[in-house]
C-alpha cells in the first residue's frame, strides 16, 4: 500500500499566523484512495488549521499539496470543491431558515443571477444519492427544526452533491448523541465502500480506533507518527497525543490543604441546546489547594463553571461555599460571599471592550462603598484603585481612561486577574486563565494562582491547556462528556493515563 501514489499528499506544510503563532511546523500527510484516515490530536494541535489549508480556507506559509501526484493550489473552498475535496465543519454552515434541498443546492442553482433553478432535477439527484447511501433526510423542513445529527447529514449530502471524492470531517461527533454517532459511522463505512476517501478529525480515541484505517497523530503543529489502526492500541495513541517535553516548572512548595471551601455534589447542568452538558459531577476544593479540571474543550467545563458562578441554571445537585448552599444565587450575592471568577471568554464576558480601563477595573464591585456611595460613583477612588492594580500587576495601559480594547490580550487578561484578586476572594475560579495570552503574562498569571494557593485561598482552575493543569494543580480531574473520568494527582499519573481519560477511557 505504501508504494502506490497517494491520492493526496501534503508536504512540509508550515503555517505561521500574523501574530507569530506557529500553528504548523512542517507537516507531511498522505491520504490513499478509499481509506478513512484519522487525524488525532489535542486542542490547538493544528488539525483544523491543516484541514482548512487543504480546503482552501487558509493559505499555507510554506508547503505543497499534491493531488494524484500533481501540485495544486487552492485559493478558496470553491477551488477545493472543484477538485473534489469537501469539508464538513464542526460548526455547521447551513442557512437555518432554508430547507435541506435549498441548502444543498445553494450556489449550484445555475450561472446567471436570474437563471432558473431546476428544483425537480436536483430533488431527483438527491433522492438517488440518499437511496444509494441508505440514509434519508427530510428535504422540505427548515433545517433549524431538525436535530443536529440530521443537520450534519445535510452537510455531508451537500458535499456529496458536489461530487467530492475526499471528504474532511472536523470533529464530527462532538455534537452528536451516541446513537447518532453510530449512524454516522454506518454512513462513513458506506461511503468508503463506494470508494470515497475520508479524513476524520478527532480527539476521541475509541472513535478513531473504531472507524479509521490509519491514524496520523499531530501534536503542537508536528506529525508525531502514523500508524495502521489495527496495529494501534488506545494506550499507544494516547501517549503519542499528549506525550510532551517537560516545560519550565512553576515553583510550588508542598502545602497541606485546609478546610473545604467549595463543595459540588452530583451536579447536573444543561447546555445551550438543552443537552445534558454536565452529568453528575462531584468534587471539593479546599483552602490552599489548586483543583484543576482538564479535558478537551466542549466536554461540559464551561457549563460547569457557569453553573457554579450563578450564570447558568443548576438542574440537579448541590453547590456549597463554606457550607452555605449557593445554587440559585445571583452573581452579585456570590461575589459578596467571597467568590471571584476569571471567565473563559475575556472579550465577551470578562471585559467591556469599549469602556475604559477604570470602568472595567471595578466590574462586579461597583456597589462597594469605596467606589459608589448613595448611588454616586466615586471616580477618584476608582482611579486610585485602577492605578494600584496597574502598578501591582505590571499592566501596560496607555491610561486609565483609555478604552480597554487598546490593551494587548495579555494585559487585558492581567487586568481581569488583578480585578478578581482585588475582590479579596476566598475562592477563585479561573477558567482558561492564560488562553491567547503571551508567554510573559502566562507565566505571571500562573505564578499568581500559585501565590493565591500559598496564601490559603481555594483555586478552581479549568483549562484546555493540559500543561497548565499539570503544572499548577494539587489535584486534577479529567472531564469528558460531562463527567469526570477520574480525579488524580498530577505527579502520580502518566501521560498515557491522562490521554486515555481525555479520549474518553476511564482510568
Amino acid at each position: 500500500m505504501e508504494e502506490e501514489t497517494p491520492l493526496l499528499e501534503m508536504r512540509n506544510i508550515v503555517k505561521v499566523y500574523s501574530d507569530g503563532t506557529k500553528a504548523l511546523k512542517g507537516v507531511d500527510i498522505k491520504v490513499y484512495k478509499g481509506e478513512i484516515l484519522g487525524l488525532l490530536g489535542e486542542n490547538g494541535a493544528g488539525k483544523t488549521t491543516l484541514m482548512k489549508i487543504l480546503f482552501g480556507m487558509l493559505k499555507p506559509t510554506k508547503g505543497t499539496i499534491l493531488l494524484n501526484g500533481k501540485e495544486v493550489r487552492f485559493k478558496s473552498p470553491a477551488d477545493a470543491l472543484a477538485n473534489g475535496i469537501g469539508m464538513v465543519h464542526q460548526h455547521f454552515t447551513l442557512v437555518e431558515v432554508f430547507n435541506a434541498l435549498e441548502n444543498i443546492i445553494l450556489r449550484m442553482e445555475g450561472h446567471g443571477l436570474l437563471s432558473k433553478i431546476d428544483v425537480d432535477n436536483a430533488r431527483k439527484k438527491l433522492q438517488k444519492l440518499m437511496d444509494d447511501l441508505n440514509f434519508q433526510v427530510p428535504l422540505d423542513v427548515p433545517v433549524e427544526n431538525l436535530p443536529v445529527g440530521v443537520q450534519q447529514r445535510i452537510e455531508i449530502l451537500k458535499m456529496l452533491y458536489r461530487d467530492v471524492d475526499i471528504l474532511i470531517l472536523d470533529e464530527p461527533t462532538a455534537v452528536l448523541t451516541p446513537i447518532e454517532v453510530k449512524e454516522l459511522f454506518d454512513v462513513l463505512k458506506k461511503l468508503k465502500s463506494q470508494g470515497k476517501t475520508i479524513i476524520f478529525i478527532s480527539h476521541k480515541l475509541n472513535e478513531v480506533m473504531e472507524i479509521t484505517d490509519r491514524v496520523t497523530v499531530i501534536r503542537r503543529g508536528e506529525v508525531i507518527g502514523t500508524v495502521k489502526t489495527p496495529e494501534a492500541t488506545p494506550q499507544l495513541l494516547a501517549r503519542m497525543m499528549v506525550g510532551r517535553d517537560v516545560v519550565l516548572r512553576i515553583e510550588k512548595p508542598p502545602k497541606e490543604p485546609g478546610e473545604v471551601i467549595l463543595h459540588v455534589e452530583d451536579l447536573w447542568v444543561k447546555g445551550d441546546r438543552g443537552e445534558e452538558a454536565v452529568r453528575g459531577v462531584s468534587f471539593d476544593v479546599r483552602a490552599g489547594e489548586i483543583f484543576g479540571i482538564a479535558g478537551v474543550e466542549g466536554n461540559g467545563q464551561s457549563e460547569l463553571i457557569e453553573a457554579i458562578t450563578g450564570l447558568r441554571r443548576v438542574e440537579k445537585g448541590k453547590v456549597k461555599v463554606n457550607n452555605v448552599e449557593i445554587t440559585g444565587k445571583k452573581p452579585k450575592e456570590l461575589y459578596e460571599m467571597g467568590i471571584a471568577h476569571i471567565p473563559e471568554d475575556r472579550t465577551h464576558m470578562g471585559l467591556i471592550l469599549d469602556m475604559t480601563v477604570m470602568e472595567n477595573a471595578i466590574l462586579g464591585m461597583q456597589w462597594r462603598k469605596e467606589f459608589s456611595r448613595a448611588g454616586l460613583m466615586d471616580w477618584k477612588s476608582v482611579e486610585r484603585h485602577t492605578k494600584h492594580l496597574i502598578e501591582e500587576f505590571d499592566i501596560t495601559a496607555p491610561g486609565v481612561r483609555s478604552p480597554v480594547k487598546s490593551l494587548s490580550g495579555g494585559n487585558q487578561q492581567k487586568l481581569i486577574v488583578a480585578r478578581e484578586v482585588s475582590k479579596k476572594p476566598e475562592l477563585i475560579i479561573a477558567s482558561q486563565p492564560t488562553r491567547g495570552v503571551d508567554v510573559a503574562s502566562t507565566e505571571y498569571i500562573r505564578n499568581y494562582l500559585v501565590r493565591l494557593r500559598n496564601e490559603n485561598k481555594a483555586v478552581l482552575l479549568v483549562s484546555a491547556d493540559l500543561d497548565e493543569v499539570l503544572q499548577l494543580s494539587d489535584r486534577m480531574a479529567i472531564m469528558y462528556e460531562g463527567q469526570f473520568m477520574g480525579v488524580v494527582k498530577p505527579d502520580e499519573v502518566t501521560e498515557e493515563q491522562i490521554g486515555l481519560m481525555m479520549g474518553g477511557v476511564k482510568a
Binding site: K330, P331, P343, L351, I352, G364, S372
Partner: protein, 346 residues
C-alpha cells in the same frame, strides 16, 4: 474625573460632528445652486433668521423639544436599545400637561405630569422587550400610532376647547412657563431642557445606575457576569427616556405662546420624536453634545422661514438636515479628511 481630561475625550466626536455640519452645508449649497437658487442669499437669510437680533430666541425655543426627544434616543442607544418611542410619549406629555393643569394650576404639576406619563407610556414596550423579547423598534413604532390616535381623541373630546374648534383647552395662565424674552416664544422650557440634559449626563456618567446601564448596553453578558441585571437596566432606560420625551410634550405646550394649547391634529407636537433621532446622532448620543446639536437644528428650523423669503422652499432645510445626519452617520469620515493632511505634513 477632572473636567479637562474629560473634555479631551470629546475632541474627536466634536470635530466629526462639525465636519459633518460643514459637509451638509456645502452639499446643501450645491443642491441649491443646481436647483437654480441663489445659494449665498439663501444661506445669508438662513443665518440671519436663526441668529440675528431676537431671532436667536426663536432658535432656542425651537431647539427645546428636539433636545429632550434626542435625549430619549441617546439613553436608548447608550443602553443597547433603539428606542424610537419618543414620538408617542411627546403626545401624551402634552395631553397630560393640558389636562392636569386644568385642575392644578401650577407649572410644576404640568412638568411632573409630563415626566410621569412619559415613563408610563414606555412601560408596555419595556415589558414586551424584557419578557417576550419583542424588538423595541417594532413595539415603539406601533405604540406611537396608538398614542397618536388616543391623544387625538382626547384632544377632540375631554380636552376640547368649546370656544375654539382648532385647538384644545389652553394651559391656564397660572401654570404657564414664564417667558425668558418678552414677545418671543423662548420660555423656561429651554432651561428645563438644558437642566434635563445635564441631569441625564450625571445619571449616565456619575451614578452607579448609569454605569450599570452603559455596561448592559455595551455588553449584556459582561453585565450579567458583573452582577448587573441587564433586563432591569433596559427597563430603566425606557423609563428615563420616556420621562424626557413626556417632558418635551409638556413644555412644548406650557411654554409656547400665544395659544398654550395643542393644535388640531396634534400639529404642534408632531414629529419631534423622530427629529430627535437625528439630533441625537449629530450630538453623538451624548446629553451635552445634544444640547448643541439641538440648537443647530433649532437654528435651521428658525432660519428656514426667512430663507423661504428668498424663494427657497422650506423643504430645502430638511434636505440640509438630512445630509448632516448622513454625514455624521458615516464612520471614519473625519479620518478620511485628516489622514492625507497628516501624511503630507510628515
Amino acid at each position: 474625573m477632572s473636567f479637562s481630561t474629560e473634555l479631551r475625550g470629546y475632541g474627536k466626536p466634536l470635530a466629526e460632528s462639525v465636519l459633518a455640519i460643514l459637509i451638509g452645508a456645502l452639499i446643501g449649497a450645491i443642491v441649491l445652486w443646481l436647483s437654480g437658487y441663489d445659494a449665498v442669499a439663501a444661506y445669508k437669510a438662513l443665518l440671519e433668521g436663526a441668529f440675528l437680533g431676537g431671532n436667536f430666541s426663536e432658535t432656542l425655543s425651537k431647539s427645546t423639544p428636539l433636545i429632550l426627544t434626542a435625549i430619549t434616543f441617546a439613553i436608548g442607544a447608550r443602553t443597547g436599545l433603539f428606542n424610537i418611542g419618543a414620538e408617542g410619549a411627546v403626545y401624551f406629555g402634552a395631553i397630560a400637561a393640558v389636562g392636569v393643569t386644568q385642575v392644578l394650576q401650577n407649572p410644576l404639576a404640568g412638568v411632573l405630569s409630563g415626566l410621569l406619563i412619559g415613563a408610563l407610556w414606555m412601560l408596555p414596550a419595556a415589558v414586551l422587550k424584557v419578557y417576550r423579547g419583542v424588538h423595541e423598534v417594532i413595539s415603539t413604532i406601533m405604540l406611537n400610532w396608538i398614542a397618536f390616535y388616543i391623544a387625538s381623541w382626547m384632544a377632540l373630546s375631554v380636552l376640547a376647547n368649546p370656544n375654539n374648534p382648532n385647538s384644545t383647552l389652553p394651559i391656564p395662565p397660572g401654570a404657564r412657563l414664564p417667558l425668558l424674552v418678552q414677545n418671543s416664544t423662548l420660555s423656561m422650557a429651554f432651561i428645563i431642557a438644558v437642566v434635563a440634559s445635564i441631569v441625564v449626563y450625571v445619571i449616565m456618567w456619575h451614578t452607579r445606575l448609569g454605569y450599570e446601564l452603559r455596561t448592559s448596553g455595551q455588553n449584556p453578558r459582561a453585565a450579567e457576569y458583573g452582577g448587573i441585571n441587564p433586563k432591569a437596566a433596559m427597563v430603566w432606560s425606557f423609563l428615563i427616556g420616556g420621562m424626557t420625551a413626556g417632558l418635551a410634550g409638556a413644555v412644548q405646550i406650557m411654554g409656547i405662546p400665544p395659544s398654550y394649547s395643542i393644535s388640531q391634529g396634534l400639529a404642534n407636537v408632531y414629529g419631534y420624536g423622530f427629529d430627535g433621532i437625528g439630533v441625537s446622532l449629530v450630538g453623538r448620543n451624548h446629553p451635552l453634545g445634544i444640547i448643541f446639536a439641538g440648537i443647530l437644528f433649532g437654528a435651521l428650523n428658525a432660519g428656514a422661514t426667512q430663507m423661504q423669503q428668498t424663494g427657497v422652499p422650506l423643504e430645502m432645510v430638511k434636505v440640509i438636515e438630512g445630509i448632516i445626519i448622513v454625514a455624521v452617520a458615516v464612520p471614519g469620515l473625519l479620518d478620511l479628511f485628516v489622514k492625507p493632511f497628516r501624511r503630507g505634513a510628515q
